[in-house]
Symmetry: C2
Subunit: 382 residues, 2 copies
């Protein structure tokens, strides 16, 4: 075999071993050989190389076992890091994670719904700066960044078709952040990222066909089909809410318009007020809830009838009151659909978009490793 | 290498060479070696084996070239055959094709819309019998059969959720045909098969993300996403027409109810009558057409907003008048959608369902060959 072939083979074996290690407890060379189907001596050589390059860490035996215990190895999750950024209407949230997806730090900053792009980007910068400072980490230790924004994201990473963020349609978050980060920076729609998060760490880890409903101050949807995020040919999949017949634009006003809602509380809190009254049996609150669910259900039914998913995940701010929403939503879907999928409540709360952004950033790192090959982490950083 | 490994390797090489041959003009061993990356002597051995087994045919030189011309080889498309069957409301259509997908024979029988299952299955049997007889082919020469039916097809191959065919919900076409055919028999929804046909031989051969609209006496949809037919978790993807807000159920009545349509012509012909009058500029006919397109567009917009496809293909009986439909449909979609995909007319006509059935049957044959391995055709038949 030629030299280049040998080197490529060793790299493929390195990748097999890294795959076999990730997300697993420390393992011996014998265990890794069994998992990968490589020979024990071959595994040993590759593991030593990975330790040398910084991809793998040695876990010294703790001396508690009888005889001479075998050395164990684990993937060095700290070899690199990724950032997930949620640029919301009301908040910026930044999560920092290692290569195993473990969240190490987070920083959240409020932002005014009517903030202009400069003010919003300033908040993004400040939240990232604080998050990295808390972790004592330089920007060049970050291997990938994903930014979640509201509205369908086109091929240039902008939300030119539609976004509720004032003045934001022409903003390129990737361009803005590239001043600070040399790594790949992806921009993706918030509902799509939340859907990814539900399959990664949320309510739909067992499913490959997922309709994610964002139910909050806005209503939106993200789709996972055959285990893959559906972006759409122009990045605009899941935007059923743009169809007027679907009533998603007006749905949240059902809560604001509920008789008895105090005028002087924040719009954010009006739904919570209605949910609380509905729990107490208040007639108006229950009627508002019913109307909201009916609005939500038309779009949900359109998605279910189109895609016939395994699971519908109800997420977003209102999912904290999922106990009040899921049963009536299911009843409506039974009325409207041919086959009703299981409906589950999200428990990722307000972090789901940033969590999904982390997962997409990690996928980006993996794609580079597993297609471009596997340089030592120090090379990757540069 | 152990004997089993050598045999498996030869099989893999056989499959590479078959792949390199199919759909291509006859090729020399040298050309096949270049296409597959195998050595010339190795290719020669494998090709001889394939000729012996009946998978490959020798094309003798025609003597027109100077010097000693090289022998050429081609895939023996006649090694096996597949059937595609369209069980429609008004007709049964059977297509017989070879392994290259070349249609060799077809047979069409009319069937009454209110025929009971026994009568409809009898027509299916008669059409298949006639098609095979015309080709002089025994049922054991058929390697796969796919049957297209109306309504979402569940995992048992039945249309239990919904079908317009009277009494048909519990019918298992696969079970019925298994009395005659020992090969795999698949059942699939008609719109899904028509979508497959458009990507295979129709208006969307260049696209991976396709919304197919069946516009005829009924309205339906089939979806190809990332190059794969979307069946849905329970086989019910694409059934957006079941949503009342979408008005697909009532859309075709726009033609029947057009003022001036003669009462005594067949329902099938009423739309054609309206299209003709609309072409002549008749006010009522143009109004009926506008109303039909508006109905069609709501569901089409729901599909486009959900999936953001590259192409919408307009098929079904009314696609013969696509010149009257596509412009107004596009205008409606512009009004309703964020991003409007290209809209194309199908030119496969009434054969699209049976053509898609052929493709699915050929995929089934391929899946068996390329995963289970490649016995000689005589063994496959048995």
């Amino acid at each position: 075999m030629a030299g280049a072939d040998v080197s490529r083979l060793r790299e493929l074996n390195s990748l097999s071993i890294v795959r076999a290690m990730r997300g697993q407890p420390p393992a011996t060379v014998t265990e890794l050989a069994a998992r990968t189907g490589l020979s024990r001596p071959g595994t040993d050589v590759v593991v030593r190389g990975l330790v040398h390059d910084g991809w793998v860490q040695v876990v010294e035996p703790d001396g508690s076992s009888v005889g001479r215990p075998a050395r164990r190895y684990r993937f060095n999750a700290g070899a690199g890091h990724v950032l997930g950024v949620d640029v919301g209407v009301h908040k910026i949230l930044v999560l920092l994670a290692d290569l195993e997806g473990q969240v190490l730090r987070s920083h959240r900053l409020p932002v005014e719904p009517d903030a202009d792009p400069a003010a919003r980007l300033e908040a993004v910068d400040a939240a990232i700066t604080q998050c990295l400072a808390d972790a004592g980490m330089r920007p060049d230790r970050i291997w990938a960044v994903t930014v979640g924004v509201t509205g369908p994201v086109d091929t240039t990473g902008r939300t030119t078709l539609f976004t509720p963020l004032p003045g934001w349609a022409d903003v390129s978050p990737a361009e803005h952040l590239s001043a600070r980060f040399g790594c790949p920076i992806l921009v993706e729609n918030d509902c799509k990222l939340a859907a990814v998060a539900e399959r990664w760490k949320g309510a739909a880890q067992d499913a490959d066909d997922i309709v994610y409903l964002l139910a909050g101050m806005r209503v939106g949807a993200g789709l996972i089909l055959d285990g893959t995020l559906r972006r759409g040919y122009g990045g605009a999949a899941g935007e059923i809410g743009a169809l007027k017949a679907v009533r998603w634009l007006s749905a949240p006003s059902r809560f604001e318009n509920c008789p008895g809602v105090p005028d002087d509380i924040h719009p954010n809190d009006k739904a919570a007020w209605v949910f609380e009254r509905a729990r107490e049996g208040d007639r108006h609150a229950r009627a508002a809830l019913r109307r909201y669910v009916k609005d939500l259900a038309v779009g949900a039914a359109a998605l279910v009838l189109t895609l016939d998913p395994q699971v519908v995940v109800l997420g977003g701010g209102y999912s904290r009151s999922a106990d009040l929403l899921i049963d009536p939503l299911e009843q409506e879907l039974r009325r409207l659909c041919l086959r009703v999928p299981e409906i589950r409540a999200s428990d990722l709360g307000a972090d789901s978009v940033a969590l999904g952004a982390l997962r997409v950033a990690l996928d980006q790192v993996d794609a580079r490793l597993f297609t471009d090959g596997m340089p030592a982490p120090l090379t990757v950083q540069a």
